[in-house]
């Protein structure tokens, strides 16, 4: 089980309190009916599935119930950092070699 730091509660809590909510930083189109099929597919179905660093959403559902974003390595499952929803994608990761 993972230990996850909720950036709102500011503490590490067990994974059971959280719900993974998929890839982060996917903006919902403002006028979804006008999207082309290609763009809708990219928005709705195509996902990054990296072997390495992933940017993903989590929800502290059995805690503060708020959404936040996390950076995690999908090989080691180690969290690099978590940050609040709405904050920009971090340009540089703490401790990252590349």
């Amino acid at each position: 089980m993972l230990l996850i730091r909720c950036p709102y509660c500011e503490e590490e809590r067990p994974e059971l309190e959280f719900r993974n909510a998929g890839e982060a930083h996917i903006a919902r189109p403002t006028n979804i009916a006008a999207e082309s099929e290609d763009d809708f597919e990219k928005f709705f179905f195509i996902r990054s599935n990296p072997k390495g660093v992933i940017y993903e959403r989590w929800r502290h559902i059995h805690g503060c119930a708020r959404f936040f974003n996390a950076v995690r390595d999908t090989v080691t499952d180690k969290f690099v950092m978590t940050y609040k929803a709405g904050e920009p994608k971090p340009a540089k990761l703490p401790g990252a070699s590349k």
Binding site: M1, L2, E15, L16, R19, N20, G22, E37, D38, F40, E41, K42, F44, F45, I46, R47, S48, N49, P50, K51, I54, E56, R72, T74, V75, T76, D77
Partner: protein, 417 residues
């Protein structure tokens, strides 16, 4: 390839078993092949086998980053069934089931296919309605599936607890008698032996690190840890790593990879005569010929390539197993492990040509690919050989996520996802 037979066993017994040959060769990779298959799991090896045996294409290499059958082929719970809801799924899974039936004879290799029956338990009114709908849909597609009362379920599987006060009461079950299990390793080994005997090169410890494309976009070969290997046709059959390989070719996939866990108990005398699945409480169980209870758990909630998975996922499954089978509460578990499964948005596989000329993909089998191994390899070989899908896999395109023609087994919930 020397044929296995009772006479071969007798002959080898007389001379100290010195005459058995290697089941497949391990040649050095050539500079160029007609077809490269990425991934020597069951599906990849079956593809190579049928390319050679049905289409006469023998200049084929199967590249494997680890050892043959060491991924999900060696990690799954070996359940075989074809009782899926939609016509397209019924077509491909039953194609596989029909091939399972003669596979040991065809490969001259005992894959231990055992049609002992797969029984899916209904625990609530919704389950009952869904399973009955499946049974009717299956029968319209010519696939056997029948409804059992709780008493009939208990008769078919005596250790089952059908008490009314059980935490997960059994309200009935759907039984596919042709379903069952097979020996997973033997499937990989049998296909490898058959393919190798027909001239296919199986190259282990050879990881694909890049996909090369010509100026016109067509595939020209793959970069590997053992150098560049050329081919005009490349089939990606890399399970949880399929999207990683496809990224190398510049194709983004509708796939997410999750750890899926399984575990086995200490071996005991025969006690579970069939496969029992419970989608609602998410547990499935059967007994191997060695006597171990083979138990499948669920996936973790997050993308991972760690091949482990969380302990609480196993605990959840074992809780359910102990409720349904109180006699197993004191069984000791011996081993648990994880495999990385690639899941599509509609929970149906992708077996198709891709936007890249010469690049084919067979992926997205999610949590239930083993059962499809022979059928998947069979129609994927056709797709590569003819550069055109077989009618059975024609609906399983990559484009369906753009056009919306999904095969939505996720919503149909035929399987424990």
């Amino acid at each position: 390839m020397k044929k296995y037979s009772v006479f071969a066993i007798a002959r080898e017994a007389m001379r100290g078993h010195k005459g058995w040959e290697e089941q497949w060769t391990s040649p050095e990779p050539k500079k160029e092949y007609d077809v490269i298959i990425v991934g020597a799991g069951g599906h990849g090896l079956a593809t190579a086998y049928y390319l050679a045996s049905e289409h006469g294409i023998t200049n084929v290499a199967v590249l494997e980053k680890g050892w043959l059958g060491g991924g999900n082929t060696g990690r799954n719970t070996t359940i075989i069934r074809s009782n899926y809801l939609y016509d397209e799924s019924a077509g491909i899974y039953d194609h596989a089931l029909k091939l399972w039936d003669g596979l040991s004879q065809e490969l001259n290799y005992n894959v231990m296919y055992s049609p002992r029956g797969v029984m899916m338990l209904a625990h609530n009114v919704h389950d009952v309605q869904v399973f009955k709908r499946h049974i009717h849909a299956n029968r319209l597609n010519g696939i056997d599936n029948e409804w059992l009362t709780p008493e009939q379920a208990k008769e078919f599987c005596p250790p089952l607890n059908i008490a009314k006060e059980a935490r997960y009461p059994v309200m009935g079950a759907a039984l596919q008698r042709r379903g069952g299990t097979a020996r997973h390793d033997a499937v990989a080994w049998g296909y490898a032996r058959g393919a190798s005997a027909r001239g296919v090169h199986i190259i282990q410890n050879c990881e694909v690190t890049g996909v090369k494309r010509a100026a016109n976009g067509a595939v020209t070969g793959v970069e590997t840890t053992r150098g560049f290997i050329g081919a005009k046709k490349v089939g990606v059959v890399a399970a949880g790593h399929s999207s990683v390989i496809m990224d190398m070719a510049g194709v983004r996939m509708p796939l997410e990879s999750y750890p899926l866990q399984a575990l086995v108990s200490e071996p005991v005398k025969p006690v579970v005569p069939c496969v029992i699945m419970s989608n609602t409480v998410h547990a499935y169980i059967s007994q191997s010929d060695k006597g171990e209870l083979v138990i499948g758990a669920g996936t973790d909630q997050y993308i991972s390539y760690s091949q482990t998975g969380g302990l609480h996922i196993l605990q959840h499954t074992l809780d359910a197993i102990c409720e349904m089978f109180p006699i197993f509460t004191r069984m000791k578990m011996l081993r648990s492990w994880g495999g990385i499964v690639d899941v599509t948005p509609d929970r149906s596989p992708i077996l198709a040509k891709t936007p890249v000329k010469g690049l084919y993909v067979n992926c997205g089998w999610g949590t239930g690919g083993f059962k499809a191994t022979p059928g998947s390899g069979n129609v994927f070989a056709h797709t590569i050989a003819k550069d055109d899908p077989h009618p059975i896999n024609a609906p399983f395109t990559l484009e369906r996520f753009r056009t919306g023609r999904l095969i939505d087994e996720a919503a149909a919930a035929a399987v424990a996802h």
